[in-house]
């Protein structure tokens, strides 16, 4: 099977990710300065963490004066899905990939980069992954800086509407493949049903939204694996 290991290809594939990141991190920058965090600190958070939900939660935790342990625990729970993604990416990697490559690549595991890398047919190499990471990271950091600096310049209405960008992107990643595979549709429906259940049924209100995502993933992907096991060539 062909191994995709071109930095250039990765960089090209990262263009949609980078554009979406620019918009979302811009919003993060604005949220950060609205909470009174200095520009350098908001930018540093984006440059070192590269995670949307985790950063928003971290920002809230930091500015609300939470303890360090609370911050670390909430980060582990919200970001635990990356562990599952990391395993999946590890399976997709060509087997001769060196250990130090894995250490570097780990920094770039995000929902979108993961979706792009695992959406490719066949194996991938580290160079392709670095291509995906580089511009995504650059856009994420730059967007945060610009948002924190330009905070208050954009009309409120436009800022509100930009909030939908990241979801539009995620939807555009999962819907096209599900058109051609009914099993994926079933997995999506199960995940959505449990997600709604955990959010709106009072009995489950103790489940945080980060933890809800983990539970939905385990249940829906687990059900998919039990009822519709995939053959090697489907992957």
């Amino acid at each position: 099977m062909k191994v995709e290991n071109s930095f250039r290809r990765g960089a090209l594939d990262s263009i949609p990710i980078a554009l979406a990141y620019l918009a979302v991190s811009f919003a993060f920058g604005i949220a950060g300065s609205a909470k009174g965090v200095p520009v350098w600190a908001v930018t540093l958070i984006s440059a070192t963490c590269l995670t949307s939900a985790g950063q928003f939660a971290g920002l809230i935790s930091i500015t609300a004066g939470g303890t360090l342990i609370e911050l670390v625990l909430s980060q582990v729970i919200i970001n635990l899905r990356y562990s599952i993604m990391s395993i999946a990416i590890g399976q997709k990697l060509e087997s001769r990939t060196k250990l130090w490559n894995r250490f570097l690549m780990a920094f770039g595991v995000t929902d979108e980069i993961f979706a792009m890398a695992c959406g490719r047919k066949g194996e991938i190499g580290p160079k392709y992954f670095y291509g995906l990471m580089s511009f995504s990271w650059l856009a994420w950091t730059l967007g945060t800086f610009l948002g924190a600096t330009a905070s208050g310049l954009l009309p409120q209405m436009v800022m509100n509407a930009l909030g939908i960008a990241i979801y539009g992107m995620l939807i555009a990643i999962i819907i096209p493949p599900s058109k051609h595979n009914k099993n994926i549709v079933a997995v999506i429906i199960v995940s959505v049903c449990f997600s709604l259940l955990f959010h709106y049924v009072k009995l489950f209100s103790f489940i945080s939204s980060g933890f809800s995502i983990i539970l939905c993933t385990l249940i829906a992907a687990g059900a998919g694996a039990v009822f519709f096991p995939v053959k090697e060539e489907d992957e």
Binding site: C49, S83, V109, I174, L196
Partner: protein, 105 residues
């Protein structure tokens, strides 16, 4: 909050996030042959992303109406297999249009 404390919190956040990603990527180096686990990993992206989108997307903008409009636009456009950026931009435009209409009415 003092600047040092802020710095310490940011570093703690960065290290935690990195370890959560790094440990599984370096520990599971061999190909997993178990069919159940392979199938599980195949379905993970769809399950994760679906749970991330719903119900959070309903409160993605300031109003439920414009969020739903943007969401509907995103679903329709991606069903037509438009590329990711087009879907993201047009769903923002749809949400903005909905907000403007609600202001005018």
């Amino acid at each position: 909050m003092s600047l040092w404390r802020l710095f310490l919190y940011i570093i703690a956040m960065a290290v935690t996030t990195y370890l959560v990603r790094m440990i599984p990527l370096t520990v599971f180096q061999k190909k997993i042959t178990n069919r159940f686990f392979r199938s599980f990993l195949f379905y993970v992206p769809y399950a994760v992303l679906a749970a991330m989108v719903i119900p959070a997307v309903f409160s993605a903008t300031k109003s439920f109406g414009s969020s739903i409009t943007g969401f509907a636009a995103a679903v329709i456009l991606s069903y037509r297999e438009m590329n990711i950026v087009t879907v993201a931009c047009l769903s923002c435009a749809a949400a903005l249009a909905a907000e403007m209409i609600s202001v005018i009415l």
